[in-house]
């Protein structure tokens, strides 16, 4: 059997490629996508981050009547280093905002954020100087769950929505092995700043 050196090619699936070796590489990558997504979506460990009354509903979601361990998220972690998803349960005060951002930064990639309840998502009734008008001004939010507080079923629905989002993920672009340049970073920060400004 002739010896052949195989190369793993990471490219966009729409790019035309020559040679069977490269095609095989792509097939492996796509099926890995599904596997990784499936694994990540079904073991979302939430971070214990209750800020107000929504945390009570979050606790009852974890309790036996609603039981999020059916979806693989029963392991509430007290440290951000072991958590996958941050459930912001409650109003975020301006004093809490730096801590929230720090905890988010300490979580390992990949990480997701669920904004639970009206106060965390938009400020709710607390349209005043003390409360951040939406946690998405501080961290990127993946799923918003409205309600005051959302019932455990509504939160479970939010978690299922997040799982759907994770399962749809494609890795072709994520696995690009190109170091980020200074230009990329400045463009990204400009986009986030624009997004923050649009909220007002």
């Amino acid at each position: 059997m002739p010896k052949r050196i195989e190369t793993v090619v990471m490219h966009d699936s729409t790019t035309p490629v020559i040679g069977s070796t490269q095609k095989a590489g792509n097939i492996i990558l796509t099926s890995m996508d599904a596997l990784i997504n499936q694994v990540q979506a079904n073991s979302l460990w939430p971070l214990t981050f209750g800020l107000a009354c929504c945390a009570i509903e979050m606790m009852s979601t974890a309790a036996s009547r609603f039981d999020i361990s059916r979806f693989g998220s029963e392991a509430f972690r007290a440290t951000p280093r072991q958590a996958d998803v941050m459930i912001i349960a409650g109003r975020v005060s301006k004093k809490m905002a730096p801590a929230l951002r720090q905890i988010y930064d300490q979580m390992p990639e990949p990480k997701w954020v669920i904004s639970m309840g009206a106060c965390a998502s938009s400020g709710g009734v607390y349209n005043n100087y003390a409360i951040v008008q939406g946690a998405d001004q501080i961290v990127p939010v993946d799923v918003y769950v409205p309600g005051c507080p959302p019932s455990p079923e509504a939160l479970i629905f939010g978690i299922l929505k997040l799982q759907e989002k994770i399962k749809r993920r494609k890795y072709n672009k994520v696995l690009e092995l190109k170091p980020r340049t200074q230009e990329d970073i400045s463009v990204e920060s400009a986009i986030t700043r624009e997004g923050a400004l649009n909220e007002f």
Partner: protein, 150 residues
């Protein structure tokens, strides 16, 4: 050191597993949510709906009392006059725009209490979670119930 096998090992085991055995016989408490739903309570308040009269006209008259009663200020109403050719509600005016910011709403039901015609009702549909902020501005088209088939 003396060690009694009966009182030190067997008895605690029987008591401990006895509790497990008793629990096994009980009714299961978990609600299997996405497959089965529990019955919501009578006064559960979730997603709003704008209802119609029996003849198909909208109940909402665009008076903005709901917007005034709302503690979160999440309702926006813009009213316009009815004409004989273009009649939406039995009264003088109707709501041309009716928007609710679902993400700010706290589902307190004060809009329902304030409404003089009973046009806005809080239903029991709780599956509102979504990905983008913009998707939470519910317009009149989304809130208004469809006409009943004649």
């Amino acid at each position: 050191m003396s060690f009694d096998l009966i009182s030190g090992v067997v008895k605690p085991l029987i008591t401990g597993f006895g509790i497990t055995a008793k629990r096994l016989a009980r009714k299961k408490v978990t609600v299997q949510y996405p497959e089965k739903r529990r019955e919501q309570y009578d006064r559960t308040r979730w997603r709003h709906a704008l209802v119609r009269h029996d003849d198909g006209l909208e109940k909402c008259i665009g008076c903005s009392l709901c917007a005034g009663a709302c503690p979160a200020k999440c309702i926006y109403v813009e009213a316009e006059d009815n004409t004989d050719e273009n009649r939406f509600s039995p009264g003088e005016r109707y709501a041309v725009r009716y928007e609710i910011n679902m993400i700010r709403c706290i589902f307190c039901g004060l809009c329902q209490e304030a409404c003089p015609t009973g046009a806005i009702v809080l239903k029991k549909d709780f599956e509102l979670a979504n990905y983008k902020r913009e998707q939470f501005i519910y317009t009149k088209k989304m809130l208004l119930e469809s006409k009943r088939p004649e």
